[in-house]
Symmetry: C2
Subunit: 283 residues, 2 copies
């Protein structure tokens, strides 16, 4: 069984001993729980590369907007604990809100330059909440390496910039998106989808495949590819709204001509569920 | 001679070895250089309490407003190095702006709740710059203890809140203000004062002494004490403008009735020089 900590002081004492007395390297996988194969890939990487693996489970209120799904976000700590045990996780950290944001809390980190667009445009304050909780968790766990999925590509970039700009002594390890057999990127939010909605959600992967095929055939104009993907996605009946659908370079700067390594990024609504995904174009 | 580092990578390697291989405790004194007896008191405390003492010398552009004295702020790295050597400092860190704020830098920390008033009101953005550079320096040096003077009392409170809110693994040690024989609080900016201006600058200490005497005699009304101090200060000819003069509790909340441990805080201009100071009321 992984050791479960709820208090900052306690996990810090425990990890401090491991770090200094046993010179253990520490891998860290921050999550909001309700673990799926995507999280498992992060955890497996960490277990392979470090002496000790710490997984945090915390649904961070600071990164949800007032009208978002904070309250209905799925939670299942018992199942998460069993998964962590199975994968060889050493330490679980599941703090309360009171522990993370005690009364009087008021310090926030803002990463400018890449948080204004895409998710940042549609979820104001989201990345401030993400950056702040990630920084807090890093300071509590003090890991050597931390693992983030490419599924939340902009978040990965924000965390990388946070680490670089603030000189945090941690190495960020990106891990590829895990997809279901049908191509749907794994997300804890997929449980919101009905069977019919799930079919429309697959439009995302179909659009990526279409764009990948068209670029392999020689099409390089981003606007053409975007228009074709949009048309394809809109042909699915339960796609309610596309927040954005764009192609950028690896640093989230818009491109006109597509090159190897560029990213397609999309956020859209299927029914009441907002899905995001991205695709690395291989030429 | 203390070892001098200009590169983050180099000081980090050096301190990493000391921290892990020799289990050395690390004390840190962040400064903007041009060291005086106030800095020396910080350094002496650190040398006494830690195996290794690191002093940083960096005039942080991010905490100066566009019309402030960033460019004329006094600098003398040779004299500073000699002082550090004399006091037994082990490591000096004097980074360039390019090293601290490379191109594309854009991550800032904001501490809300206590940065809006006093200095924060008159120096917008100042504490954002302070909090950001302190956080960066902490991440680079990773000290066990860091030393801050009570002279910049609000700054001390901001750093304490930064550490608490972000769960930084460092202990903040406050050190009492050092004053010249005539009562003027030591500050690198005192070099700006002409002899005549210096006489007017002493009005601050006189006002503190007056308020301390009046409270010892039984006067507890903050507004009365403030009015009397203001009158006294304004009787000095070269005092050009008082930015603020107030009495707060130790957490910078305004008070009506003065109690033991409350603070008098003042910022004022003598000629073109802005001076700040504060006084702990002892009852």
């Amino acid at each position: 069984m992984p050791l479960l900590f709820e208090r900052i002081k306690d996990i810090r004492n425990h990890l401090g001993r491991l770090r200094c007395d046993e010179k253990a390297s520490i891998g860290f996988v921050p999550t909001m729980g309700y673990l799926h194969e995507g999280h498992k890939a992060l955890i497996k990487n960490s277990v392979l590369q470090n002496d000790v693996t710490v997984v945090s489970i915390y649904v961070n209120p600071a990164q949800f907007g007032p009208d978002e799904d904070y309250h209905r976000y799925p939670r299942d700590i018992d199942r998460d604990t069993a998964i962590c045990e199975e994968l060889g996780v050493d330490v679980l950290f599941a703090p309360t809100d009171r522990e993370m944001y005690p009364e009087g809390f008021g310090t926030y980190v803002s990463v400018s330059g890449i948080t204004e667009v895409l998710e940042g445009e549609f979820r104001p304050g989201h990345f401030r909440g993400v950056a702040t909780v990630v920084l807090k968790l890093f300071n509590i766990v003090q890991p050597d390496r931390a693992y983030f999925g490419e599924k939340d590509y902009q978040q990965l970039k924000v965390v990388e910039k946070l680490v670089k700009d603030l000189n945090l002594p941690v190495q960020i390890v990106p891990v590829e998106t895990v997809r279901d057999k049908d191509g749907l990127a794994l997300s804890s939010r997929n449980v919101y989808l009905s069977d019919k909605e799930r079919v429309s959600a697959l439009s995302i992967y179909r659009a990526f495949q279409h764009a990948q095929r068209r670029t392999s055939e020689g099409e390089r104009r981003a606007d053409v590819l975007i228009r074709e993907m949009e048309e394809l996605i809109r042909s699915y009946p339960l796609v309610r709204k596309i927040d954005y659908l764009t192609i950028t370079d690896p640093d989230l700067q818009p491109v006109e001509e597509v090159r190897d390594g560029d990213r397609i990024l999309v956020a859209l609504w299927v029914g009441d569920t907002r899905l995001i995904d991205n695709w690395r174009i291989k030429l």
